[in-house]
């Protein structure tokens, strides 16, 4: 039990350390004391500019995106009672990414900078709502995952269509970033646009977490103990849609992190979805901050995309979980 007690504070501390470590990396060599001084407002103006406008926003963006996806993943897994449910696998991220690209591609973003996060969130909400409707109609987890995979493929196909008719290589490179996910060159400008939606989504998911615990008893038993199933579905879908949409607006589609973090956290919280939310968010945030450090250290000609690294780490875990479950559902 002692591990469970220290899980959240330990993860929070690890996140702070990882974000600080991420701020040590960059093309200008900055020793830890100068980074620390820059954080506290000391050091010279150049150091402060590098830390506060370049390195810290990037690390913070990676953390926030991971946290949003970890939280959404853990909540969706609780709602659907399926450890494979996750914004990336279920096509929520791909749909959000498509909607964001569409708004950029057709110049809708010119009307207001808020159009971009709103488009991503609308895409995410549409996908989560569709999945929730499907979850009501079918009790088969396999069918639900297949619907998610179908949704993801359809969004991918429409994205490929946009790639196909891209007017120039610059647009093409932009769209690829939306598909592969990245926090390169993120600044507080983008974080501020995504943050209200991220906070709102997270608050909704945390406020309705008790219902997820009740759902582990099964839907009928949960209704029996007074859970309003309809409201639970609506709020979880709304919260996950807002948080995922905000994360996509900030970093494009990053998959699998929402599966891996709750999977690792669950044994330490007695498989209680409500108690898994915050540690899953912190762990997923930590994973992405570390993955982004990896992206910057790995000496490739072009910087790797964060979503690619996340998928390389997460996809084998997805296959492993699916294989573990096969016996129970065949």
């Amino acid at each position: 039990m002692s591990v469970a007690r220290w899980l959240t504070p330990g993860l929070a501390l690890a996140c702070v350390v990882a974000i600080f470590a991420a701020c040590l990396l960059g093309s200008t060599p900055l020793p830890p004391d100068r980074v620390f001084a820059a954080f506290l407002g000391g050091a010279d103006a150049g150091d402060r500019l590098v830390v506060w406008t370049i390195r810290f926003p990037r690390a913070l963006a990676a953390f926030l995106v991971g946290a949003a996806l970890g939280l959404s993943g853990a909540a969706l897994q609780g709602l659907l009672r399926n450890p494979l449910a996750e914004p990336g696998v279920l096509g929520v991220s791909a749909t959000a990414s498509l909607a964001a690209t569409f708004s950029l591609y057709y110049g809708l973003v010119a009307f207001s900078p808020w159009i971009l996060p709103l488009a991503a969130i609308t895409g995410a909400l549409a996908a989560t709502a569709l999945l929730a409707l499907a979850a009501i109609r079918t009790r088969s987890v396999v069918t639900l995952i297949l619907i998610g995979v179908g949704l993801s493929s359809f969004a991918g196909a429409l994205m490929s269509l946009l790639l196909n008719i891209a007017p120039n290589p610059f647009s093409l490179s932009d769209m690829i970033s939306w598909m592969l996910g990245s926090v390169a060159n993120r600044s507080f400008d983008e974080i501020i646009l995504a943050l209200p939606f991220l906070i709102a989504g997270s608050a909704i998911l945390l406020a309705t977490r008790r219902g997820l615990s009740a759902l582990t008893l099964g839907e009928e038993a949960a209704s029996g103990v007074g859970l309003n199933l309809r409201n639970q579905r609506i709020f979880t879908v709304l919260g996950a849609g807002l948080a995922t949409g905000a994360s996509v607006a900030l970093a494009g589609a990053i998959g699998f992190v929402g599966i891996v973090a709750p999977l690792l956290v669950r044994p330490f919280v007695n498989h209680d979805p409500a108690r898994s939310l915050i540690p899953s968010a912190l762990l997923a945030g930590l994973i992405l901050v570390i993955a982004d450090i990896g992206v910057r250290i790995i000496p490739t000609t072009n910087e790797l995309k964060l979503g690619v690294v996340a998928a390389l780490l997460g996809a084998p875990v997805f296959v492993w979980i699916a294989m573990q479950r096969r016996a129970a559902y065949d």
Partner: protein, 214 residues
């Protein structure tokens, strides 16, 4: 000249679409893929290949005067080529007295810049500027270095092109980069000025030299 080209019918670089027009000559750069030139020649249509510029005016292959002349020769007007080359070299020698040594950073909406080994670098050097980007080749904007040091001149290219919407992850969108574009010493280059090998590159070089003096 570009204004005169507006409205000229265009076709995609597909062999069939080109052949049906029965052209007397195909002038091509890279459209249609690497085998297009050989294909048209086999179909009996002469092909004039637009070369690749790698330097402004040196003895090496790929200088702009050599490209101008080879195009003029291929089009059957060698004397017009000679006149263009003479004018190009005259404007070039007028610039050679204006070496300012100001540092310049090339910026595009996609957030890339260039060090040595590119025509843009050669153009900046010819204009009497020093390239702020010290590392060779095409690279992302050096955001962290810009936090400590400022180039004297920002060479902003392609920012006028409407279809070239800024990449959402472009380093050019970062506040540190945007601040550079707000400064007084920004030389805006039209994307078309830097089209490889054209005599109009001199317009860009002159604009750069002027920016260095100011």
């Amino acid at each position: 000249m570009r204004h005169e080209a507006v409205g000229v019918p265009t076709v995609r670089p597909l062999a069939e679409d080109v052949l049906i027009l029965k052209p007397d000559l195909v002038v091509r750069s890279f459209g249609g893929g690497p085998n297009a030139g050989v294909f048209f020649e086999r179909a009996g249509i002469p092909v004039l290949q637009v070369g690749w510029a790698s330097n402004v005016d040196s003895e090496e292959m790929g200088s702009i005067p050599s490209l101008i002349q080879s195009m003029a020769d291929g089009l059957g007007h060698p004397e017009r080529g000679e006149a263009l080359v003479a004018e190009f070299r005259e404007r070039l020698s007028a610039l050679e007295t204006q070496q300012t040594g100001s540092t310049a950073l090339y910026m595009t909406p996609a957030g890339v810049t260039t060090g040595s080994g590119s025509l843009v670098h050669e153009m900046m050097m010819t204009a009497g500027l020093e390239n702020f980007q010290e590392n060779a080749g095409w690279r992302s904007l050096p955001l962290e270095r810009l936090a400590y040091e400022q180039p004297d001149v920002i060479v902003a290219a392609f920012f006028e092109t409407l279809t070239n919407h800024p990449n959402a992850w472009s380093a050019a969108k970062h506040p540190v980069a945007r601040k550079q574009l707000d400064g007084p010493d920004v030389v805006a280059l039209q994307g078309a000025w830097t089209a490889c090998g054209g005599w109009f590159i001199m317009d860009a070089i002159e604009a750069l030299a002027e920016g260095g003096i100011e």
